[in-house]
Symmetry: C2
Subunit: 142 residues, 2 copies
Amino acid sequence: MSVTCELCDANAGDVIVSTEQLRVILVDDANYPGFCRVIWNAHVKEMTDLSDSDKNTFMQAVWKVEAAIRAVMQPHKMNVASLGNMVPHLHWHLIPRYTDDAHFPNPIWAAARSDKQDQFGLDIRRARIPQLQQTIISNFSS
Amino acid sequence: MSVTCELCDANAGDVIVSTEQLRVILVDDANYPGFCRVIWNAHVKEMTDLSDSDKNTFMQAVWKVEAAIRAVMQPHKMNVASLGNMVPHLHWHLIPRYTDDAHFPNPIWAAARSDKQDQFGLDIRRARIPQLQQTIISNFSS
């Protein structure tokens, strides 16, 4: 554990699933309802610092979350990324993308589109969050 | 195969490793020597469209490339991402990041830094490309 690492604080964020090795949180991003993160609990910097078994455990969790997001949020495309330049503690971003979202087709880290986002589509997606949380929990129970 | 998909053309890019299921290419990006892509040969959109066995094969390849990049390029941080908004054909970006690179600590898709990049560091990294290619080939032979 690093004394300066925000991801070492297991209580940060809206935790949907928590296991001994990792946790799944719902990211609070107004433009991206359904954006989730899977965070490895131990303070590890890179995937290739993990054992093969731990890599597999981590990625299996990522795919369970991706499957839940796709089933409930019906995105046009999934974006999956492990960056960690700011916080070098392993975590995967899982972002459901839509042709009418704030950055499409660019990555969400690029400049936002100048045209107005479809508020109706965004409202529909926000309404699906409770079902997403239940589906993620269900995917980790099976 | 999609008739309009550039990644269905197996001859595109500087191919370092090619297997029946996937290929590893070196990305031609002046700011990011060592940037590699692992591309699934079949035209598949999302990781959760693959079988468990294929997911595992794909990710094992990604980790072999990450291990080679880390060993040779000595990055400050690895960035690993599967986006595909423009080209919805599964591929992983593996990008070695440095504190003096063109976008650090932001993702490479964000606006570039306004301060000048360290040309000396970039030249050193470019000189390591032949060794990187050999190490990737070696990691897939073992």
